[in-house]
Amino acid sequence: MFDIVLPQDSKPLAGTFDVLIVGAGPGGMTAAIYCARGRLSTVVLERNTAGGQMALTERIENYPGFPEGISGFDLTEKMKKQAGQFGADLREITTVAAMEPAGDRRWRIVTDEETLTAKAVVLAPGVEARNLGIPGEAEFLGRGVSYCATCDGALYRGKQVAVIGGGDSAVEEGLFLTKFADAVYVIHRRDQLRANKVAQERAFANPKMHFIWDSQPRVIRGEGKVEAVEYQNLKTGVVASLPVDGVFIYVGQAPNTAFLQKIVDLDEWGYIKTDPLLRTNQPGVFACGDARTTPIKQIAWAVGEGALAGIQAEKYIDLLGEPEAAAATESEATESEATEAAATESEATEAAAQSPISSEASGARGTPTGGRSAAHPGGEPTA
């Protein structure tokens, strides 16, 4: 394969690749496996550490191939190893600051450390925990406030904690916390949980789990570290204070797409819009995983999308490399690529896109690690 942008006598420039993948969750890592195995030079940029929401999940019971279940950390390690053995270059703790067209049908990505260019980009930046936005939340981050029970739960042995929220993550992570904490108080603004039934049954049967209904946290108090959370009953207006050592916040997620705002089309909640072949409105830019407008946030689904995005990137690059494509104008090349890729891929992918949607959610996905996620405040509500 020839790199059409470089002078003929030059070696590939440092920082010049076939594919850049933004995000090393299950979607991004699957795309990396396909691209690297397709002999494309592939770099995966990860703001945090690999695995995304998956890595923060204590136990995954609905990902095929692991009938006994597998920890998110172990599954992450396996995916990392698989992408790595085909030559994908994973760069962790690397934040993407900007993305822009670099001319010659390439894309430029600026990270906090360097500038990279590539012929194709797969966007898989994932989602992060939303903030509550109450006093004390930012102040006590890492000192009692957390968005990740799997990360920090073990540091709360013998303590009392509050969990904010009533969805899958809140209830499942709350249950996880009962392994360490003496008491877990779930504070929820409604009078019933939204979590899946299995999690609800386990939660109501667990003597360490307590529920505070119809209530909204107002302020997190403490001196140097969390000592209490004050909450208000929404029906009576009464404010109460609950002494706790930790507050775990699970009030939804928002996509990590702020850096893409003027680059690709986003929906009203900030999720990346694509066609059924996972193409964004920009040529050579594909998207997969939780940050895409997607019906479900599940690892199995993200992996499928990662495969499609990786294969699409590969086909796009193949077409770029053809002499006629190279000679054509940008818009012609893009159009012919689009038509041909659509023709070859549509059957398989449309079948995938239309397959039944499962609402099974027993492998609830956690939220990002405290220290890093806090630097990236949440955006629009997702539910």
């Binding site: 962790e92 934040t95 890492g142 000192r143 009692g144 920090d152 930790g246 405290g370 220290g371």
Partner: protein, 104 residues
Amino acid sequence: MDAVTQDRFAAEVLRAPGKVLVDFWAEWCGPCRTIGPVLDELEGEYPGVKFVKLNVDENPAVAQSYEVMSIPTLLVFDDGAVVKRIVGALPKAKLIEELGELMG
């Protein structure tokens, strides 16, 4: 980076002369594993600072007394007193920025 335990914490950190960086970590913590090698590099670059790591699962009392509620947490001690606290994994350049003056 050498490991330090609860029993040896006073001798090797609190009573150690000059600056000591303690990396609070655990096996199960992905971000801890990522910054481990970065700290190993920094150890070589700052010969005047002692670098040690403390496993929070094996040494919960130390983690509790310094109110380590999230890992990785890095604490820099100077003559026994905490002079810097960094919570969460940071890229190397950012770590150097945060630690720069202290370690200089």
